[in-house]
Symmetry: D3
Subunit: 317 residues, 6 copies
């Protein structure tokens, strides 16, 4: 039985090596990446048994994705589908002023047809925390219903619900996202949201402290975490706001930083830490993630502890 159950799509990520361009690529590095499995992995690395639920095509590509997630240690409980594609995305790394490029190729995927009744809802209701993100309902109208049903089932089973807003402008328009996601808010206990999304999608104003406070008060969340990219995060809980600065990093890959943060935050809360402590570990995990290629936070608890206690390690031999 897992303490954390997450639900969402995981894609095959295809990236040219280094900072080469898609336009002339002669090879792609391949890895699995998706917000909900990234979060499950990060939480698992911090000692929380975690399971990822999804619907995946019964093809070598689908098995490729599930195999990698198992390699990273989490449990997977997937509906194998004979219809629908495996979602992919193309990712091109780049420094300033080019900026990384993402091309989604995730239409008509197996998961886009996933209905709540296809999953073993006991797994969700027996978990301590259920987690999904704003990406899932953006993928299809079926998934909007499924997301709502699963959040509802979780709540009714006494499971805490956590949700990362994760607005993706390449998937839907801000107003459509706003309408869809705010409808889900009453069923959510813990909201994680980027300050940028709070402003541009939900129309809130103010600094991250103010955003956290306004969101928490207006929607009756238990906890709200507002992330500020490379500048740390703010947590609102019991009407109190806590700030956490980011750690200095030599960034290798930004992708998955937010998921590492969220997974670690949930994990430490499940271990019983208070919000400020959980924010500290979450920020440390996010900093470590940035030094690691790929989508997932391949960290150990000891490494996170070391960053929290001393800001990171030197070459040790």
């Amino acid at each position: 039985m897992s303490d954390l159950v997450t639900f969402g799509e995981t894609m095959l990520r295809l990236s040219p090596p280094d900072s080469r361009r898609l336009e002339t690529a002669s090879e792609f590095e391949v890895c699995a990446g998706g917000a909900e499995s990234n979060v499950a992995i990060a939480a698992n690395k911090l000692g929380i048994p975690s399971t990822w639920l999804s619907k995946v095509p019964e093809t070598p590509l689908g098995r490729r994705v599930v195999g990698e997630l198992r390699q990273h240690g989490i449990e997977t409980d997937v509906v194998w589908s004979h219809r629908g594609r495996q979602g992919t995305y193309y990712m091109e790394r780049a420094g300033k002023p080019r900026g990384a490029t993402v091309i989604y190729d995730r239409d008509d995927t197996a998961i886009s047809t996933a209905k709540a009744r296809e999953f073993d809802i006991d797994r969700v209701q027996n978990a301590t925390v259920f987690f999904t993100t704003g990406i899932t309902p953006a993928l299809s109208s079926t998934l909007r219903d499924t997301t709502a049903s699963m959040l509802k089932a979780a709540r009714s089973g006494g499971t805490t619900t956590a949700f990362d807003f994760n607005y993706r402008r390449k998937l839907w328009a801000p107003d459509e996202a706003e309408q869809t996601l705010t409808k889900l808010f009453p069923g959510i206990d813990v909201l994680i949201i980027a300050a940028r999304d709070a402003r541009t999608v939900l129309g809130f104003e103010g600094d991250p402290r103010q955003l956290a406070h306004k969101l928490g008060s207006q929607y009756d969340f238990q906890t709200v975490v507002v992330t500020r990219g490379s500048e740390g995060a703010v947590g609102w809980h019991d009407s109190v706001v806590h700030e956490q600065d980011a750690y200095e990093t030599d960034t290798v890959s930004k992708i998955g930083t937010g998921d590492a943060f969220t997974g670690a935050f949930i994990a430490r809360r499940l271990h019983g830490d208070d919000v400020p402590t959980a924010l500290e570990y979450a920020t440390a995990t996010a900093a470590l993630k940035r030094t690691i290629p790929g989508d997932v936070a391949l960290v150990s608890q000891e490494e996170v502890e070391e960053v929290v206690s001393s800001g990171g390690s030197e070459l040790s031999r």
Copy 2:
């Protein structure tokens, strides 16, 4: 102005290195591959100016495909589209008894919406030969109409029409293919078809000589070429059947062998060779292709001549 104009889809091909499995792949080799561009490239390598027509997404992936085709020397004349995906396919190499695996991911591509009126039909009508394959009408109902229209336009402009039957069971059922493609036969001058397809899709019986003869007589083609995989080919022309054995090869990649054959056959016919000579060059080009990784026949005229004249070269220094 090109002597040969071809029309069809070219995909991005993604292959794990060597004979590794998709299920555990951590990198993909990337190249462009599609029957119609493969044919144009092979013909071009044998000295026939060739152009490939297509509809391609205006994305780095679409530009990736077009760039590679230009690198191989042909002209490209594409409709750039802001809708529709870039088709891809996953290819896993394997020896006996595993057998290579192909997974198509080519639904909802840009080309599936291509209409004849989007192309500069003068290019087709000013060419000496227009070529497409049975894959194109298999991709969408729109493309069935488009293929028919373009063959018709070519014929009405005095352009010879050549067509490779190329049945793909992962795209459509045999009876659907049979109904669709035989309707196109009256507009086709030169048919290339695998003996296997003549039997299992069109229901003909007999050895390749008989298949060629029956097809030629029944449908009033100018020329029919029946290919026999690694055992050579048979050509029917002016009611005479010509046989050509295959050359011995150290096979590195089978994919594209038929296209190399067809491109070279068309090229040599355009150079004025008779059918038996063209079959000989076509078979030699196919043999060379099998020694080359990827989809396309990166050969030179000199190399083909050398195979025809002496069966191939030794290490020369």
Copy 3:
């Protein structure tokens, strides 16, 4: 709960690419390989839930091994150790007349200290089959006792015991192996042994049919399988001998072929097949394994079925 539980060491395998030499290698390909986990994976791929038991160092290298085994789909139940090395082996591929080279570096490993009481013996006793090989007792005197204890525990729990003789001359002398392993024979139900080992280690004479018969009669095994390398296998069961020829293969990697055979044999027996049918599937799985780089049989049940029914597949698209 797993139907098959295996116990043994899995090493990190380090190989120069292609057929390059260790002596000048500038990179190593890395994968996990060990007879007992290879067998578990092959059985799992054929539909039998399988678990691998072992003792592994609590280091990135130990986690590397376990992660890869999980990726391949099996369950792992390992004792994490703070003492002892991760075993490695260097493997150099080569064609004739060079021959592949293996250099073991597996002294003082974590597993060499593994005692039966460190493992949850219920897992063994609740399984339908318990499997280990002659490599395990070759690794340390502690492991000789552990192997004996675990076979005994399995038997007493009603679990069928299967054992691959797997003599490794780089680990011990023939007479030492003979003395140690024949002492284990009374606790073994199913013996798999190479004809070569039956001759040079156990001193039997005759063709594989005779070897199987003599072994089966003399030691009161339930089933004996004598393998003949690339020439198939012979099975002895209920005093009847069954022969199975090998399938033709384009061999990419011989290592793990025997384990693929054994895993598939056990799996099909667990599915209820009789010995001749299980030998057929085992031989087909071994043939597929030879087309796959690395130690493990990354096959699917469908692929094995296809080899059994038609001798393997052609390029299909």
Copy 4:
């Protein structure tokens, strides 16, 4: 018909991966690079149809170079030669304090024998701009005459002549360069020159503004651009000097930065921009180039616009 025609040598560039040393390299990355084709590609990426003229050996190496340039989208019009080598250069990347190393291996190349009469001079005279650099006349005495003839032909056909001074100390001595190149100045409309070259080769003094002014006045150019490495550029036109600062970049490869600048400057001038605007786009294109491995500016017009308008993009998804 191309708006921009360039003439010069393009070499095969051989580089050890990352920052490895030539002295121990076991592999080389291969790409095509040459100032004049780099400029054509950059201009073409910014929407100006461009053609590169050259003389190239009729070998796989010569075809390799031409194929890559075609892949990047430009037209190539080359004299295929049966005599003379393909020029190569070895490039070793390095950070401070090592500094990148270039070893030229470009003696006795095919292009070193190129005479003006070998080229279709109409292509030059029908272009809007003809471009070459100070590297071309440094390669052989034949090429000194050829460069002079082609500039003269361009001018007489009403084509604007643009010239990048590009002094290369590994090709010739400063005084030889100074004597040769200043003789060409009367035939040049637009001069691009590094401040360093203006000082050490031509003996001018002062800051870049002063250098631009002195050069412009003394030699009666239409336009002079003085580049200042990573500190931007200065443009002199109609007796007015315009300054442009450089954009901040995460530099991956400096080589080709100047060519990206020049190609973009010419392209924007051809689109009708005034000098300050063209300098802005040129600087933005140069900044993007620095994020891209290899010699050429694989950019899109949209990317350049985004840098000009907002200083570059963040990760967008």
Copy 5:
């Protein structure tokens, strides 16, 4: 006859590419690395004929190590052993806050049994300088005796003895190191030590100047060099302390920086430089090393001169 003879272990280093993690590595880059051979190579690159003494297994792995050292130009004089492993170490690169990770796998190596009498002691006594480090006696008790014997033999032959303290906490405890190494001090002429080791292992206090002075006075060394990581070094000689700042570097690999420093320091002293000049060259060599992947300082004398004279080179072509 070599001017510098060094003695110690050289390992095979196995590193995942880039900043990937050991835990998921699918390939390792392989190189040879060991403090004493690194020092010999650096000195040799600066023009001092150098020889490395060691005991190495007579296996492809041992030959791999020796071959690479010969490639880098030094002489090797090794005792080939049929017992004992080749030492390896796993190295994971990482930026802040992760920090590089080293896992030693160097127990039971061939060298751990090396006795002084196995070596041709004339080689040591005929050298001008004999060098080893604090790593050697940390490897086995046999090597403690061997190190002492060789230092003694060197001294008695009139050879200057140089020693890098090189404390490795993964090999032994500080107090054990302190007791062992200070016993060797009377036989050492030139000590190189990190400020950190002087403090945490030897218990000295103060800034590097003070550390150098205290060490020099207390133990009667001829010369003491205290290194300060990326902040340069301090040299004490004839009771005078000299400071040298570090050069700015774009660091690619820190490993081997200290050895590059030490090798260059010894080389320049052997060329007759005074201590401040030798420190300058040593610091320049260390700075160059940081730009080079792997363990060894693949530099040329010209490059070092250029850093000393001008702080490093720009792209030159």
Copy 6:
């Protein structure tokens, strides 16, 4: 002091991976290759101390070549030159019917200016055997004189002279080769020549036995070896002809097979073997070479013994 001294050019070899084409290569594998150093390495691997003499550019490329030869264990004694290129060659692997392609780029190399007086002729005269090939005098007229002088010096110092005819049609015409090389014959003791060269260059007729006999009688050689490619060799000595069949091989790389043969033949003769035994070892070494990528025979004496005694090894573990 070396028993074998060889003299000749060693090139940098650049090859696309696998069987890819030069025309589209994006990377080259790099290694050193030259007949005379290949022979020295093969002899050295079989236990004969060997030295290679040459003239090499004082550049990273020249040092790259020398470093690799040292890595393979031989001594190098080179004249470092500040003029002249490092010779390179491009090699494209291919199976039937394509055939491997070699493109030489070895004009104006440093070695082409090498004069006998630049070398320490004592090294030649103190060796037991001096070896060079017909490639050396093909490289320049200076080298024709140098080759003659060195053979003469060797003879006058009592050193046995061995010579591989090695005709290269890409370097010179048959008649030019014939005139030049037969003039050297009186100074040669041991001639190795391919049957093909004996026929097409020297105009002899007959089977290899006859060729050996005719050559031996006509030119008064001590020993003549006629090689028959993959069909073994024939040795003539003391008017007796000995035949040796080739071993069966899985060929990975043909290049360097002849040099492996010759190096081993010389080595075994120096060890005191008679001609038939030396032919057997030479053929075994050549067979092993064919399993090894690159130009050189990275074999061990044990491996050669094993092929001679048992025809090669199986996987051993």
